[in-house]
């Protein structure tokens, strides 16, 4: 506010400039997404049209996409992976973060560094042994093989610990005085208070799991069980069948966008927070 006063009348021009800059950037960001859905909704003979509005609208591309691939099955499998992986990561991270926040114990710092240290271990340095381990456990080409190795999210532990650190210790002490076990304190005191943070993190984890490509590609190999892989093989085999390809790609993004429309602010905040640490 004070800077506004100092700058005086030029702030209006600057605000307009700001709108122009953001408007151009927004357009550049959204145009490919718009074009994806626009193409998918054109009638088959209009797919090559450059008109901005897809008119007349047609669902022929979607019908064809469903006929060529088991799109619903892929979406369902991907959904199962996203939900189970997010819930599992939330639970594991919640327990670990609770330990870090509610107790002081030997080796705490070392154990904490173990989580931070995962940032330094690139995926590509562990993928071969993980692949061998999965094949030994018989989990290759199963959805469980996609989910289990991702269940410990260091990001989740760090974020939840941060939330829990700002949680009033008196409440934990009061619960202990009441003779509650730490387990019941966790579920009756901590979790209700942490619900918004858990929801935001859960959505973030579910979206990441939904969009994950590398790990499923490795575990599921050439099968098309999840939508990202189905899309890949569609691109490979019917590369120029743009209408159905865009329809499949559109469906692959749709659940995330619907979630985004409903919970927009929370999702953006969760992502940005995860980036800021």
């Amino acid at each position: 506010m004070t800077t506004d006063e100092v700058v005086g009348e030029s702030s209006r021009g600057r605000r307009l400039g700001g709108h122009v800059v953001l408007g151009v950037l927004s357009l550049a960001c959204v145009f490919p997404i718009y074009w994806l859905y626009a193409t998918s909704l054109r009638a088959p003979q209009d797919v090559y049209s450059l008109s901005v509005l897809p008119w007349p609208l047609s669902t022929a591309s979607y019908t064809e996409a469903f006929a060529k691939n088991d799109v619903l099955g892929m979406l369902f499998n991907t959904g199962v992976i996203a939900v189970l992986s997010a819930l599992g990561q939330l639970l594991v991270a919640l327990l670990a973060a609770y330990a870090f926040a509610a107790w002081r114990f030997p080796l705490q710092r070392l154990l904490y560094l173990m989580f931070v240290g995962t940032w330094l271990v690139p995926f590509q340095a562990t993928m071969l042994p993980n692949y061998v381990l999965l094949s030994r456990l018989g989990l290759l080409e199963t959805l469980a093989g996609v989910i289990v190795p991702t269940l410990c999210s260091a990001l989740g532990v760090l974020l939840l610990r941060e939330h829990l650190n700002s949680f009033p210790k008196e409440l934990l002490d009061a619960a202990r005085m009441d003779g509650r076990s730490s387990w019941s304190t966790l579920w009756t005191v901590v979790v209700p208070a942490l619900r918004p943070a858990l929801a935001a993190l859960g959505i973030l984890l579910a979206i990441s799991a939904w969009n994950e490509y590398f790990w499923p590609a490795m575990v599921l190999q050439r099968s098309n069980a999840v939508v990202q892989l189905g899309l890949r093989s569609f691109m490979g085999t019917e590369g120029n069948d743009w209408g159905p390809l865009m329809a499949t790609a559109g469906l692959a993004c749709l659940p995330v966008f619907v979630l985004y429309l409903v919970l927009q602010r929370h999702i953006v905040n969760a992502f940005v927070r995860s980036g800021l640490k």
């Binding site: 800077t3 340095a125 199963t142 899309l231």
Partner: protein
């Protein structure tokens, strides 16, 4: 099957607790010891699932990669592993592919940096005055590409960049085969990755700017500093931890970000022009089934990561002392 795997994670805590709870009956001789165990055990029990998962899926495989890098093996369980000492490293370092892929990785990182640092800083500074509902709408729009699944993003860009029917060539009036020409393929990969992450970076910088105490700028302006001086000498230095974080993220993750695009759009081609280190590793391991070579490359990748991260963290620490 899937849910079974999921439930598998929780029980260690409970079962250990239950076992611990049963212990007084089995070890009545030393109640004091039991009391102590009971007092110090809880945090470790809560950490157990996470730590077990970390060890099994991150640290133990990392150690195995070091071991594997000294063997020759083709990933088939029935074939024996042959100890070759440092042979894989010699082989790796003597292939010209490695040097080229490292160079391409550097090019990709440098190419993505404008999208994760340059553009976001400029945009965030220029748009500080835009507030309220309009800001919310812009946020929602620029962030959207981050949510597009990488393969779906690859699909739509393949369509936009199609040499004959794509919108880009028809609007520009050119007939460039963007994804199948050595120079433009790399450029396309960089731009598509940039498109994915630019909105996210803008929001991170905006949040970083919002966290800066406005009193500094106000005081400087009272002292007669111009707007550009305030930006150069106050805002940017205070923003530097955020910027260091974005640089670190770009360096560590760019190979990961580009992987789905390369795998679906160019497969490392044409003539290897988009094969970066990450993709090379993938090819060694899963195309040539040369586990030893891939592991050796993975070890070098890991060591490179550590060096880069240490340098950038030190830099960030030095810079962040501004706001004392």
């Amino acid at each position: 099957m899937v849910s079974g795997a999921f439930v598998e994670v929780a029980p260690p805590v409970r079962s250990r607790e239950a076992r611990a709870a049963g212990m007084p009956d089995t070890v009545p001789a030393s109640p004091a010891l039991w009391q102590r165990v009971r007092r110090i055990a809880p945090p470790y029990l809560y950490l157990l699932p996470a730590v077990v998962l970390l060890v099994v899926w991150t640290y133990q495989p990392l150690a195995q990669t070091f071991v594997l890098s000294t063997y020759s093996w083709n990933l088939v369980p029935s074939t024996p592993m042959v100890d070759v000492g440092l042979g894989n490293y010699e082989r790796l370092l003597s292939t010209p592919e490695l040097g080229r892929s490292v160079w391409r990785t550097v090019v990709v990182i440098l190419g993505i940096l404008p999208f994760t640092v340059g553009i976001p800083v400029a945009v965030a500074l220029l748009t500080r005055r835009v507030r309220g509902r309009a800001q919310g709408v812009y946020r929602a729009l620029v962030f959207a590409p981050m949510l597009v699944a990488p393969v779906a993003g690859a699909a739509v860009w393949q369509w936009l960049l199609d040499p004959s029917a794509g919108a880009v060539n028809r609007v520009l009036g050119t007939d460039v085969n963007w994804l199948n020409t050595a120079g433009t393929a790399q450029l396309s990969i960089i731009v598509i990755t940039g498109w994915h992450v630019v909105g996210f970076a803008v929001l991170v910088v905006t949040a970083g700017l919002a966290g800066i105490n406005p009193d500094y700028a106000a005081a400087a302006q009272v002292d007669g500093a111009s707007r550009s001086q305030v930006t150069r000498w106050i805002t940017l230095p205070l923003l530097s931890p955020t910027l260091a974080f974005l640089v670190l993220m770009t360096v560590l993750l760019s190979a990961q970000w580009t992987f789905p695009l390369i795998d679906t759009l160019t497969q490392g081609g044409p003539v290897g022009s988009t094969t970066n280190l990450y993709y090379l590793l993938w090819e060694y391991g899963f195309r040539s089934h040369d586990a030893g070579l891939a592991a050796a490359a993975g070890v070098l990748f890991f060591l490179g990561f550590i060096v880069v991260a240490a340098l950038l963290t030190r830099l960030a620490e030095r810079l962040s002392h501004h706001d004392d």
